[in-house]
Symmetry: C2
Subunit: 386 residues, 2 copies
């Protein structure tokens, strides 16, 4: 039961996805389902932020009330189901959060190693800081779009045949990522203790960090990626709360060679299957639990020098990869830096993305026989004719 | 006549600084000074964003109405001066803008060369991309604070004597920067043409990008600075509009070896003197016009791949340095990577900042005999006893 924002009948409001339908939380508030919670109507809104700001105690109660009401055939919700339930087919899903700050981590060791082997040193792929720091950089928040938004092939400056040129990227790539949505704020100057980090997470969504590899490789030294990434990132419209993922928590491997502020007893990851489809061909299948750095470690490190997290901030994992071919989370890895093509189901060959390609990220967890879905983060590449 | 936000008598509102006083724009709106502009009251607000969103045509008219009214001893403003004018001494100045996205450029060639000589190669200090790209990275927006906010010495991980340690930074530095405030939005996927870039600038303010050099040098490869910078940046409370700076525009040197999207006929810079005081000793004196990349070039490059700028975004210049000792915009340069100390007026020696040090950035332009001030961006370092 994930939270999102949808437009229907000219109004934008918050909802919970349940199968092919959406529970309209604005209507639920109006008919009094949350009366004893004594909360303002934060549900007629274009983002989840105010709702998240009510705090976990309240947001979890809202989720549980809806869960209970859906099962009660004689309850208030079912009595008003005509107004409360909206078919997903007739709505427009919106960007679920107002993202004040977006940070992209680099937390998959397999990914860092695969890239390091290609571009650094096959025998020594990782920089010395990689196993000590959950490496990250600040990304561009304004260009994060919701699933379904088309992505125009970016132009920029790059080197081609030794010449500096201005042109459309020829190396457009996806990145399979998973992002945490921040649900609680720390004060500037007050780091979050790793043992309390979980309180700061509202939930998770899918994240595709589109990248133009030719632009990126020319610009990124020494301050990191810029125009090669800031043209668009796509997120899924539904945010699954961390509490809803309780049953798919798995123990986290403990690194012994990190500083104390990154050590947590009983740290955890999640057993969540992640997939990428390119024009309906499965091109990546991996699992969130393969990440080297946990979300708690990411939060502890992000705030270690005092940086303040805000409600709605996004902390993305970085490309999630494995060793095997199908586990590689971006095309740069899959095609060995663009040197080997691969085939789609229909026989088409690809190295990087072509115009009209559709990339779709999906995720699901299976717990006690039921399945938690994360929806999808989909985008179609459109030609740049400017 | 710069714009800002101030708190007085329990209310937060927009104002214009005029000498030792502030023109309360909320009161000006109430007494009808802007009646024929037919604008909503955006002046009782905690940031300039909605005001800026009215567009240059309107915001410039507001400035001109106030300018005219201040000179008219029998006008509405002067008749109501008791309510309209507030002494700066009794107000609290606030962060003037809600900053959605903050980008830090690296636009001073002297700075890049000084740093490159210290840490790269004395004979080849610049990376090959530096003269082709206005290099930049996305910074942290949430931790930008207004002048007067204390800065707690950050802790983090760093290498000391070959060992990995968690401790307070021993290399805390300031960076003299100047920042453009974005006043107009472009659509995602629609780059801003360099010849229209000026339209997108509302104004300018001072910017101090505090940096912890020991944390930064350990973490920054390969994705750029993170916890070594995201703990705080300080801006001045007053934003001077670009139109108010018309008379201090100076011609901009034209680079011939850049791509077309970075070339603008009659590009411009500004003759603005910039100063940094450390505990009242002048430690930097330089000029904005020494920058290698113009603000128009920064905007054209920022959006070249389609990135969308939002009202209130901040585009900071990067450290502004020159060749001479007094022109070096940060301590890392001034002390040759922390190897040479220097003396303050009172005889104290410094290499990096110590607890209780006060750093104050100032700027002014002199045109036709009158002086445009930018106020100050000041911060005091406080000990980290956590």
């Amino acid at each position: 039961m994930p939270f999102g924002v949808f437009e229907y009948d000219g109004k934008v409001q918050l909802g919970i996805a349940i199968g092919a339908e959406i529970v309209d939380l604005n209507v639920c508030h109006k008919i009094g389902l949350f009366e004893h919670l004594d909360i303002p109507n934060v549900f007629l809104n274009d983002c989840l932020n105010d709702f998240i700001g009510l705090g976990k105690q309240t947001t979890n109660k809202v989720r549980m009330i809806i869960q209970k009401e859906l099962c009660d055939q004689n309850g208030l919700l079912r009595q008003n189901s005509q107004d409360v339930l909206v078919n997903q087919g007739v709505v427009k899903l919106k960007l679920p959060i107002k993202i004040g700050n977006y940070t992209d981590f680099y937390s998959s060791k397999f990914h860092a190693e695969n890239i390091g082997k290609l571009f650094r040193d096959p025998n020594n792929p990782l920089l010395p800081n990689w196993t000590k720091i959950p490496i990250a950089y600040h990304g561009r928040a304004s260009s994060i779009v919701v699933s379904g938004t088309e992505v125009k092939r970016p132009k920029g400056q790059l080197i081609e045949g030794g010449e500096l040129v201005y042109k459309s990227t020829g190396k457009l790539d996806y990145e399979l990522e998973f992002a945490a949505v921040i649900g609680k704020e720390n004060q500037l100057g007050e780091p979050v203790d790793i043992n309390n980090a979980e309180e700061y997470i509202f939930g998770f969504c899918l994240f595709n960090d589109w990248s133009a590899r030719d632009i990126q490789s020319w610009e990124y030294k020494p301050l990191g990626p810029f125009t090669g990434k800031n043209f668009a990132s796509t997120i899924s419209p539904w945010v699954v709360t961390i509490e809803a993922l309780d049953d798919c928590k798995v123990p986290f491997h403990r690194q012994n060679d990190v500083l104390g502020y990154l050590k947590k007893d009983n740290d955890f990851s999640f057993d969540i299957t992640l997939e990428v489809y390119l024009n309906e061909t499965l091109v990546v299948k991996n699992n969130f639990k393969t990440l080297y750095w946990s979300v708690s470690q990411q939060i502890a490190h992000h705030t270690v020098s005092g940086c303040n997290l805000k409600i709605g901030d996004l902390l993305a994992s970085g490309t999630i990869s494995g060793k095997d071919e199908l586990e590689k989370g971006c095309l740069m890895e899959k095609t060995y830096g663009g040197t080997r093509s691969f085939k789609l189901l229909n026989g088409d060959e690809r190295i990087y993305l072509e115009d009209n390609d559709v990339v779709c990220l999906k995720a699901f967890a299976e717990v006690n026989g039921y399945k938690i879905g994360f929806g999808k983060a989909e985008g179609k590449i459109i030609a740049n004719n400017d």
